[in-house]
Symmetry: C2
Subunit: 208 residues, 2 copies
């Protein structure tokens, strides 16, 4: 994910940006620190990026590309049953919670909080990452609804897919606040329990 020792300067800068922004935030990450950590000079930076805002957009795009490749190649797509794939996705998210808080939390979740009001281009790039990823879950959810004959009362595959990301992003915030990765596991447990409820065979569906 971090391309710490990439051959070209651009990727080294983006790798350093992902690391520093997740740790300190976007505004608190100075270009001097960034270039030092990437092992390049300011000249290299401004050769590849028009400015700091451009770096933010590029970092969010880089994150989106990296994570979408990671999830596309992950093993949770293997089960034949679509509901099993959704639950395997949650297992995979649990597996990703390793190392320190700055290593497993989400770049774009951090980035968007600092930039949503002042840097709409960065905000949109973050939104593309979050909602683009959510979208990859919709097909499995829709297939699971069909197979398990679930008629949604008040929710859709899209809204449930979005909700998984809501829970994960919130879990990262609470994990940071308490400096405790266990809170992410708790949140995923609740989310899994909810999804199992939604797909539990029953005579009468709940209203909300």
């Amino acid at each position: 994910m971090s391309s710490a020792a990439a051959p070209n300067a651009r990727d080294r800068i983006l790798g350093a940006a992902i690391d520093l922004i997740r740790r300190e935030g976007f505004a608190a990450t100075s270009l001097d620190d960034l270039c030092r950590q990437a092992g390049v000079t300011k000249g290299a930076f401004f050769h590849h990026f028009a400015g700091k805002e451009d770096l933010g957009v590029a970092a969010a795009d880089f994150w989106r590309e990296g994570t979408s490749a990671l999830f596309a190649n992950a093993p949770y797509h293997r089960p034949a049953d679509p509901l099993a794939r959704v639950l395997a996705y949650l297992d995979f998210r649990r597996e990703l919670v390793r190392g320190g808080v700055p290593e497993f939390t989400c770049l774009v979740g951090t980035l968007v909080q600092e930039t949503y009001d002042s840097h709409p281009r960065i905000r949109d790039a973050c939104a593309a990452s979050i909602f683009g990823h959510a979208q990859t879950l919709e097909a499995d959810i829709a297939a699971a609804m069909k197979k398990h004959r679930v008629t949604a009362a008040g929710w859709t595959p899209e809204s449930l897919a979005t909700h998984t990301q809501t829970v994960l992003q919130g879990a990262f915030i609470l994990a940071k606040a308490k400096n405790d990765p266990a809170l992410v596991f708790d949140a995923i447990d609740h989310l899994e329990r909810y999804i199992r409820f939604l797909f539990k065979p029953k005579k009468k569906a709940a209203a909300a």
Copy 2:
């Protein structure tokens, strides 16, 4: 909440800090901007606060005091049934989603993401606000479990109370990313559906 025109400089500074930090973030909020918006000078600022980190701690504390008064006096405590109180809490959270995104989102959720690694004092103040508020929900959840004879399989009043805050914090992030308050309502709807599932009378409980 914002004490925009408080009589004393300290509260005006804190009100301006809550506004600016929610809008731009902590690092991007300069003391010059802050003092300008508060209508005070740098001298007044450094009379009341030891430095910028101290402001962060004070703002989180101020937020905790303000929100805990708001929730303590809110009408969702009125229903006799404890589960109804929990659901009324969710309704109250829906009501708070008014105005623009910077106005209804959470100060400490934003603040902690920028400071969890570099300013532990601020992080702890944010954690106190989030988890202190979550704790106020535990009694109602526990009473609801008792009344509705729910034997939790894998969750506790504490973990469910925490989960409500997880969902809300995550919802704020997604609402910022898409610049759309409706995402908060969607998230609360899913959360309400989950809670209703948990307390639905049934013969057999689910495992997770």
